[in-house]
Structure formats: structure tokens, C-alpha cells
Symmetry: C2
Subunit: 385 residues, 2 copies
């Protein structure tokens, strides 16, 4: 029941009897990560507006950092010199780095793509940067996270079958090169990435091929690009049909709260998404009953917290009226307070899901999740920040 | 040795034998304020980028809020409805509100000034707002701080003698109207403001006239407008020559660290300034040895904290290299971390000064303050934010 590589280990502690939901833990050089886990996104080595103190208080055990942005500035050499990402960010918990592939393919900075790798423009100074599977591994080893990701070609949405199939086999060849490039002395665990677009059979094939490689964890990429939730879930199901359940399953870029709940029911162990942090900065709060847009005039004199049942610092301390005032005034404090709430909501949702699995009542947890909502809001925009 | 009004009281606890420096405390409905005290500036009901939790951790006991900005948005009625500024901001310590005069006269939104009052443009929607001494008092009573200020005409710098004299007598007539307008049932203590520009005899006369009125505290306004430190100190001395030493002396808009040190030596008890907060947001740190500009290339790989002797969260946790990266990347966290350091520095300087007075070694404190500095930097721009 354990998948391991170097100092990384995944233990499954309990499975829900009625479905694929499970509770486990990653053992990492920076402590245990209870799963299912949600990773706040720390694009440039900082979860926007949040100090490590705030991250600890909202219950984060692992954060994601973006190789694409850190490669451009301040550069992996500087971070390595300062002791790696954990020391650089002063974050004592676990860190996962993505490979940069998603940003390169989605942010339209792509200049050239061939078998060897990709060339893209630096988002900082416009200079050309080359990334190959080997270089993506070397850069991430310099950043020294607990988990790193293979360089993949993230298939756009929509994409035709031929393009999708070609992209998935390139991703497979690159996955093998990443494995070979890995320095056995370096500590990050390397996860493989399944592609296959919105074609169930291509997803299955990619999952079989990537799953056959000795990765200690498997990710499903190329989702949350604008496709309907039902399609997204179908793709996750196609992949999990053929993946061994012994390894952690990372669903990249997911998602809205309903994505997390539905994906956990399908065996998802790890998630990341910019929604809680970015929407916080745009004045949108996630609550049990749905989304609350703080600028609405209805909250002008509202002395209540954003969510009366929430235990976060923001809800325990401030009124909707004050949060509305801060947001409308463009006060910097709004970004922090709003982010604290949204991450607390996300991380509490994960903790409740874990407890539900341990108590073998995950389907009741899902029913209650939907019953508490005022609305039928589906997942929204989840592009990276 | 006590000046009192309603629930406000000022106790002088110790005087330095060699000069005018003294240690005291304000007793307020929101706890004691050890003096000399520095007030972080919370313009719109928030010290920029700082939560009340952060303010507590840097050692703030009193903050300033700007009537001018709060009058325009969200308005005193809303704040009163939500229980006053303390409840609105969730700040358990003391609050002082300025009267709005300084902003009205300095921000060039002034439309009309006559004996009755001033009309200015709302910084939010451009609409006309009228403020008289009576209205300034009523607005501040609605905001419900611990200390409120008279509406004064802040004399510009430079200003000729005739304009300055005319302005000082208008400020005097307005001070009397503020006293009469005060609601004896409302709790804020009302402080008077001395004007007189850069003319020592006009300063003395204004101090005599304002000092003759029954204010529980006296402020010196119209300073830190760009005049040299030596002129500023001469004006403070002119005022204190004739002011009773039993009342607290508030030096408005001061200042740079050297302003605080020199003004404490001349009997200053209370200060406010945007320098620590605004310069933090511009990447400038105050340290014992001088100012540190974090974007400098010299700090690119610097693993040391901003100030190795500093006990603030930022210095105990992050390297100069990381703070430089956050600042250059425009990361929101930079604002908070930089502000935490600068306010900690300011508030620690005040705490050290208080200890020095209690131990009767204030002049040694002043000598050491200058000895530790690398440079001879004088006070810079201190306009409001």
C-alpha cells in the first residue's frame, strides 16, 4: 500500500467502502502531508499576500511553486545558493514544483516546440529560454522541492484527436527522458503526467503508458481548461480505470470546491488551483452556501462575518461591511484577509473529507456539501495566475 | 501631573533629569498608551498591508485614522452604525483621528475657505464636501476614537508672515468653536492644534492662545512640510517655551527617526508619520545603521536579514535576497513584510527611549542613536499617504 522514491513515501491509511475516496499521507523531508491535500499556489515563491505564518494558520501542509516563473526570476541558481525553495520562502512544510509546461503552452509565450524541447519568452525580460525534459529536471532539482513534475506538452482545449494523440506520445517520450535525467542523489520525488485531452481512449492509453513507468506518483494534466465538469470527470475516470491505486493521484489545476469533492470521490489525492487565491483578490469569497461577492451593496452595513460558521481569522474578526470597505478602497489588507478566508475554506473542506473517509461516511459528506449550497454554481475559470 | 478630560487621562511617570524628555501614559477607554508613542497611520481605517494581528505583534498601542478619507468613504454614519472605528477596524487598542484639515489644505482639493469652514472635493467621487469646526467634531464623535483633533488651517510652507498670522488666528477661532461644539456625553478627548508657520514669535503666540484653552492635550501642526530639521526643532522649542508641560504634546506628521529622537528630547509625547509604512511599500527599510534600499543589486544573494539585531518577524524569518525578489516581482507579501519591519523599528525606538528616560540616560540613548548610523541622512519627504 505504499509508493516510494528516495525519502518520499505515500501511505494509504483508509478507503471509503462505497467508492474510490481514500485518506493517506505523503512522507516528505518536510513533514507529512495528509491527503487528500490541496496546494495553495505560490507562483513566484510566495502564495500571494500570504506569509508562511498565515499559511500555517489556514492549515496548509504543502504549497505549489511555478518553475516557469522562478526560472525567469530569480533563477534556480540563486535559489539553490540560498538553500533551495524551502529556505528561500521560509516555508517549513512541503513544496511541489510544476515543470513549467502548463505555463509555456497556455501563456502564449511559446516560440518553438520540437522533439528536443521548447523555447519561450521570459515573462520578465522577453529573452529566449529553452526548456527540455532534462533541463526541467535539473532546474527543479536546483529548486529542491519535495515533489517535482515531468515536462509535458499540455494539450490545448479544444484540440482534435490527431493533435491530442501526437501530444500524448511526445509527453510519454519526455517522461522517459525526465526519469533518465533524474539525479539519484537529489531528493525530489518525480511524478509523471497523463495527457490525452478530452478523448477517453487516449486518456486510458496515456495512463497505461505513463503508469507503466516507475514514478512514485501520477498526475493527470490538461484538465480544467474550460471543459464541462462532466467531461473532466469522465477523463479522470478513464485514467483511473487503468492506473494502479497504490500511487498518489494528482489532479493538476483542480479546482472549484465541487471539482475537489467529485475528484476525491474518484480517487484524487492531490490538487492545486488559483481559484481560492485569485478570487479572493477579486473580492469573491467561497463559503458553504456558495460564493459571496463582497462589493455587493447588500453588504454595506452588514455586521456579520463572511461565513458565520467559519473559524478563520478573517471571519472571527471582521464584518462584511469592513471587508467591503477595504475592497472598495483598494486597501492592501483586503488581499490578505480575503485569501486567508478562501484558503481556510478550501483546506477545511479537505480536512472534513479526510475525516469523512476515516469515518466511512464520504457519500454523506458529498450529499451535505451539495445540500448546504444556495445555488448550482458550477466550476468557473481556473487558469493559472 | 495629570491632564484629563472625561475618560482620557495623561500621567507623567518620569522625566529625564538632563532635558525635557519624559515618560508617561495615556489612559484611554481602549487601554493605556505608553508615551512617547508613535502612531502608525491607518488612513482609510487600515494601516496599509497590516492586520490588527500584525499591529499587535509590532507593538502598536495607538493608531491614527484620517477623518478626510473616512468622511468620503465609507462615511461616519456607517462607521457609527457598526459601533465606531475600533469595532469597524477590529482594533482593540487606542485610536486618534485627525480632523481632516491637513489633507484638505495639502491635497489641493480645496474649493472654498471662509470663516465658516472649508469646502473640498471628495477624493472618492469628486462631489463637494463641507467641513466646519462643528462638523469636524460631529464627524469625529461619530467615528468615536479615543482622541480627536480640532479643525485647523494648516499653513502651507513656505508662507509669508501675514498669511501665517491670519491662518493662526483663524485656527484659534476654530479651536474655540470645536470646544463649544463638543458633545459632553461623547467620549473622545479633544486636542487643540498650534500653528504659526516658521515664525517663532507666531508659534509662541499661537501656543499661548491655544494653550490657554481647556484642551487635555496640545498638538503642534504645520510641521514636516519640507522645512529643514533645524527650523522644525526651533518651532517646537518656541511652542514648548510657553506651553504647560503637564499636558501631552503631539507633534503632528513627525517623522523620520531623527525627528522622533530630537523631538522627544524637546518634550514630544506623541507622533505620527507615513514614512515607515510608505517607505516600506517603496522597498526602503529603516535600520539602526540607516536606510536600506532592498532593490539594490548588492542584496541579490544576501542571505542575511535586513537588520541582524532586529527581533521583528520579517528579520527573524526572511533573507534580504528573498525580500528583494518579492519586491522586484511586485508580490503583495512584500508590502506586509516590509511594513512589519519598519513599524517594529519605529516602535522599538520609542520603547528604547522610554526605558532610557526611566533609567535617566536619555542623552546617552541619543548619542548611541547617532553613533550607530552609517550615514548622515536627514529627514526626507513626510507628506501624508
Amino acid at each position: 500500500m505504499a509508493a516510494a522514491q528516495g525519502s518520499f513515501k505515500f501511505n494509504i491509511l483508509a478507503r471509503d467502502q462505497a467508492g474510490k475516496a481514500r485518506v493517506g499521507e505523503f512522507i516528505t523531508p518536510h513533514g507529512p502531508v495528509p491527503t487528500p491535500a490541496f496546494m495553495p499556489v505560490g507562483t513566484r515563491g510566495s502564495v500571494k499576500a500570504m506569509g508562511p505564518d498565515d499559511l500555517g494558520r489556514v492549515g496548509a501542509s504543502i504549497v505549489l511553486a511555478n518553475t516557469y516563473h522562478l526560472l525567469a526570476r530569480p533563477g534556480p541558481d540563486l535559489i539553490a545558493k540560498l538553500g533551495g525553495l524551502h529556505a528561500f520562502m521560509a516555508w517549513p512544510g512541503a513544496v511541489l514544483t510544476d515543470s513549467g509546461g502548463f505555463q509555456i503552452f497556455s501563456l502564449k509565450d511559446l516560440r518553438r516546440l520540437d522533439e528536443e524541447g521548447v523555447t519561450f519568452r521570459s515573462p520578465v525580460d522577453g529573452s529566449e529560454i529553452f526548456l527540455s525534459p532534462e533541463k526541467a529536471v535539473a532546474v527543479q532539482e536546483a529548486l529542491a522541492p519535495d515533489i517535482m513534475m515531468c515536462l509535458d506538452e499540455c494539450t490545448p482545449y479544444p484540440a482534435d484527436r490527431e493533435q491530442t494523440a501526437r501530444s500524448a506520445v511526445l509527453t510519454l517520450r519526455w517522461a522517459k527522458r525526465c526519469l533518465e535525467a533524474q539525479n539519484p542523489e537529489a531528493s525530489p520525488a518525480l511524478f509523471g503526467i497523463v495527457q490525452g485531452g478530452m478523448y477517453p481512449d487516449l486518456r486510458r492509453r496515456s495512463a497505461e503508458e505513463i503508469g507503466a513507468l516507475p514514478f512514485p506518483g501520477i498526475a493527470v494534466g490538461g484538465l480544467a481548461l474550460g471543459e464541462p465538469l462532466s467531461v473532466r470527470l469522465e477523463m479522470i475516470e478513464a485514467a483511473t480505470e487503468v492506473l494502479s491505486p497504490d500511487r498518489p493521484l494528482y489532479l493538476m489545476g483542480l479546482g472549484a470546491p465541487e471539482d475537489l469533492v467529485e475528484s476525491m470521490a474518484r480517487g484524487g489525492d492531490l490538487f492545486d488551483c488559483v481559484l481560492p487565491t485569485r478570487n479572493a483578490r477579486n473580492g469573491q469569497f467561497f463559503t458553504r452556501s456558495g460564493r459571496l461577492v463582497i462589493k455587493n451593496a447588500a453588504y454595506r452595513e452588514d455586521h456579520r462575518p463572511v461565513d458565520e460558521a467559519c473559524g478563520c481569522y478573517t471571519c472571527r474578526t471582521f464584518s462584511r461591511a469592513y471587508l467591503r470597505h477595504l475592497y472598495l478602497s483598494g486597501e492592501l489588507l483586503a488581499y490578505r484577509l480575503n485569501t486567508i478566508h478562501n484558503l481556510y475554506y478550501y483546506l477545511s473542506l479537505m480536512a472534513e473529507a479526510r475525516t469523512a473517509v476515516l469515518e466511512n461516511r464520504f457519500s454523506e459528506f458529498v450529499s451535505r456539501f451539495y445540500a448546504e449550497r444556495d445555488d448550482g454554481q458550477a466550476s468557473a475559470d481556473m487558469r493559472p495566475e
